[in-house]
């Protein structure tokens, strides 16, 4: 609403012309000035300038509701993992950004593929009954794996080939390989969401393009990168809120260099500012060659919790029963140490492991 043109907010034609002479055409331009500046630019007395600002503000300001009205609307996207859903009080919250971060091969893309299948399921099966917009920057998307997860996880529902094809047709894949491409795609995403009827946006991954193009040791690049990420975050939050859909992103890991006294450790990439921007952060990490864990490292509703899982044919499977909650002593989600794979399973005679 900030880019709304002044002409259409009821400001008089003469005033619009006068402001145009000072390059003020949209509400954003006018509201970015202080009242005294508006006096000079518009040639009005202080009181009249305040009245002008008030009327333009009315055109821009978002509506006021109460929390009670929101109670009827907001919903969650169930992840089909009961233990995780219980901790998150229903699932991934709609209208917010959820980030999945962790070392390579741990299951982030698997999680994204699984969520894509879930979103296309009808509401009776626990899905969102909608399309999925999948923005892939690493070329890691595998349609075969998508179908395999669908058929293994919901064998009854996907018993007919027709349904499988219909599901696959509802996942819209966009391959973007540079930062600018990703930004352009996000800026135009509104149209794609409306035309495809999307109920879930996945961006896999945020970190890869940014880390390719920005060397943060060079001066000025850190700020540039933060601005870019901030732009992406605010665009995604806007879309998530306006359409009331969940947004899932994946991130990578980086080494946090320690001082001489303590050794460094591995943590989520993209820095402290990015940790502020995501609403929920799920960390996936290794326990040993087979066993992995999901940590809820940042959430407005859930405590610090850890769940063990493995990756099977049907996607992510959480071990153990749901009645016990496993909590851990967490810390700043931007500094939570992440356990990486320290050994490799060379013994290929045992059950095949599905790493992405």
């Amino acid at each position: 609403m900030a880019t709304r043109i002044l002409k259409r907010t009821g400001v008089s034609h003469d005033m619009c012309e006068q402001l145009k002479r000072h390059q003020i055409e949209s509400c954003k331009d006018l509201l970015s000035l202080s009242a005294v500046d508006v006096m000079h630019v518009a040639g009005l007395s202080y009181q009249k300038a305040s009245v002008l600002l008030q009327s333009v503000s009315k055109a821009v300001a978002p509506p006021v509701t109460t929390a009670l009205e929101l109670w009827k609307q907001q919903s969650c996207f169930s992840t089909s993992l009961p233990a995780l859903d219980k901790l998150l009080r229903g699932g991934l919250p709609c209208g917010t950004i959820t980030e999945v971060t962790g070392p390579s091969g741990c299951g982030k893309t698997q999680m994204c593929l699984m969520l894509s299948v879930l979103a296309t399921l009808p509401k009776s099966e626990g899905g969102l009954e909608s399309s999925v917009i999948y923005i892939d920057t690493e070329s890691a998307f595998s349609a075969e794996r998508l179908v395999e997860i669908a058929q293994s996880r919901f064998p009854d529902y996907f018993s007919s080939k027709e349904r499988v094809l219909q599901m696959a047709g509802r996942v819209h894949l966009f391959r973007e390989l540079t930062c600018q491409d990703v930004l352009n795609r996000l800026d135009r995403l509104e149209e794609d969401i409306i035309s495809t009827g999307a109920g879930l946006i996945i961006l896999d991954s945020v970190a890869s393009v940014v880390r390719k193009e920005f060397d943060t040791t060079l001066p000025g690049n850190l700020m540039h990168r933060s601005n870019l990420l901030g732009h992406e975050a605010s665009t995604l939050k806007y879309l998530a809120h306006q359409f009331n859909i969940p947004v899932v992103l994946t991130n990578q890991i980086t080494t946090h260099v320690g001082s001489k006294v303590d050794p460094g450790f591995v943590t989520a990439a993209l820095g402290n500012t990015w940790s502020h921007s995501v609403n929920t952060r799920l960390i996936v990490q290794y326990v040993d060659a087979h066993q992995r864990q999901i940590l809820i490292a940042k959430s407005p509703v859930a405590p610090f919790a850890v769940l063990n899982y493995t990756i099977e044919k049907q996607g992510i499977c959480i071990d153990g029963d749901d009645s016990r909650e496993s909590l851990y002593e967490g810390t700043d989600p931007g500094l939570q140490p992440i356990r990486v794979q320290t050994g490799f399973n060379y013994n290929l005679n045992t059950s095949t492991d599905c790493t992405d």
């Binding site: 040639g43 109460t66 009670l68 109670w71 500012t273 502020h276 290794y286 016990r324 909590l327 002593e329």
Partner: protein, 369 residues
Amino acid sequence: MQRSVSSLSLSPSVKMKLVNAGFQFTADLLHLKPLQLSKEASLTQQEALEVLQTVRREGGGGDEGGGGGGAAAAAASASLTALELLQKEEEMKSIVTFSSQLDAALGGGLPVGKTTEICGAPGVGKTQLCLQLAVDVQVPQCFGGVGGQVVYIDTEGSFLLQRVVDIAAAAVQHCSLLVEDDEQRVAMETFTVETILSNMFLVRCHDYVELLAEVHLLPDFLSEHPRVRLLVIDSVAFPFRQHFDDLSQRTRLLNGLAQQLIAMATGHGIAVAMTNQMTTRLSGGGQSQLVPALGESWGHAPTIRLLLHWAGSRRMAAIFKSPDHRGATVQYQITSEGFRDAGQSEQPPSKRPRTQSVEPAGSQRDASR
């Protein structure tokens, strides 16, 4: 004391015409009539009338004479004695945070009539504290609360209803256990989760322009809803940290915003709570430090600053700017019921969930099967 014509709150073109016609000080204008002024200064009759009204309103009151505010400003500029202010401040209550240690450090809770900033690292509990305050402001007066409504401006999308319901339910239960007399019993009938939610006015702003527009409109909103006692902005930092090429413009806008918030806090008798993020500041030698975002000049805007930070896995709240109280640091925790004192557990030990230690990278345990 002579007041110059160019300091009046008139439009620049009118002022220029007056100065060109030879009117330097307001004293020159005091005894004129509109028609005469319009001929001498080549103003329209309307403009001449406006000039004279402004002069009488502003020029006559001496040095103080209100800014652009009009008659009300002139009346309010009569001075207050410290005694009157002391009486006023005693009437102003504080909003409890349900963490008794933090309330004690703040002198009762978040003060009404002042602006407070809550800054901290991600995930440390800023939004949780804001949600707790939004519920606590509604605690009825007979229980020691303020019994007011809240305007919650969300710029990050962290306002999740399930969490608010949990916190509200816990607060209602807490109060229902304290009921002692009839007055409190009656008050509990109107203090339920539904009424708590209906007293929270929610606005979702996506960028700084929407935030500024909303703050412009708030004084009217507050006049129409006199029961509002708390304004929460979560967070101020997020919309102002992107899309700004000109940082000096950002500083100007933030200062303007701060002034408006302070005016609302004192003028309408509300508490203002704002959250801020942290940013990495690189000092010489490659060392980096986390400092509050939005720059040094923003530090002057709030009256009280709370810094929430991590000490290992413990959460600490430090008061590092306050005109009334010493800087103090207390520990707190976030439970399923909301913001509470650390070490306070309402569940018996057997019911507490099993805690698993999550081992960091480079750990001691051998990863081989």
